[in-house]
Assembly symmetry: C2
Homo-oligomer: 167 residues x 2
Amino acid sequence: MIRLSRLSDYGIVLMTRLAREPARALPASVLAQESALSPAMTGKILKLLARADLLVSQRGVHGGYALARAPERITIAEIIEALDGPIALTSCLRPTAEGCGIESVCPARTNWQRINQAIRDALAGVTLAEMASPPRNFGPAPSASPRRAAAPARDPAGLVITSLGAK
Amino acid sequence: MIRLSRLSDYGIVLMTRLAREPARALPASVLAQESALSPAMTGKILKLLARADLLVSQRGVHGGYALARAPERITIAEIIEALDGPIALTSCLRPTAEGCGIESVCPARTNWQRINQAIRDALAGVTLAEMASPPRNFGPAPSASPRRAAAPARDPAGLVITSLGAK
DNA sequence: CGAAATAGAACCGATATGGTTCCATTTCAA
DNA sequence: TTGAAATGGAACCATATCGGTTCTATTTCG
């Protein structure tokens, strides 16, 4: 159901926490505690984010993690990509041959890119700063965003945004 | 990695095929063959789409499936919702209590909606008609779309849209 | 030197997903 | 009227993936 992996979910929470004090470096232990995540998971995620150059790390006794860039310059898309790999909505866009066997026929073939592009833009249009800053009062968007989907309040199909855990 | 389930993937392919001849009703068997999908899978998917009122079905010997509405009035979001349930990007938005345990603390809490809204809009902004009609020449959008994410061609973070199967 | 931290890899269990199979029902035509 | 062609619906299964843990190595400072 187009769901975000837990990894990315948690990752965004952690990054958002760090974005509240972009200057300070916090150790994984306190990030874990403040975010109510297990230290193990937290460590794993932070390592991945650091390897993707979204965080800088300091080892040793007073070490920790800090954002590698200003929160305004980090997008949700980057975080997700760092934790879960490339954003791919379909298997149809295989780069080369050995595709789905109906490349020449598949009517949707060329247009998958529309969907991927739309999602990509949506995710790249939300910055960490936006996630962190205005706790509420989400209205016409703080205009801090580079460029967003217009996002009129209409509810086209009654999509219910609800829990993942709902079994 | 924010991936579309195979169900939705296939579903979109099938719907797109049907959108090419919105008037005609095609039996599952030919849809399966033309889309290179197993008859079983195809049947399953079409049944789900019919139950969601995106397709109308005709039983009996000369039966088949046809779009329930004009392709311009069916969005990708609807198809995905029909096949994979509600579009949910995070487990954080639990409707009621028993949440993640840090509701009051979680810095990202209120802003998850930004992401969900962005994705939702992106998906609801792509219609079946767009997926089916102009085989190529995707540029300023045929303006048939109700309202799209502006989708400038820039590549913000070098996201690679690639295969799912890549193990 | 030792404690506190990150780096990195391997490992494991559950479950969700892709896919199939079976049976019931409807419809039409020979 | 009977049977073939189609959809409706549910149950079932296997495996890949994902969430999560554990263990070890390395760095850094007091």
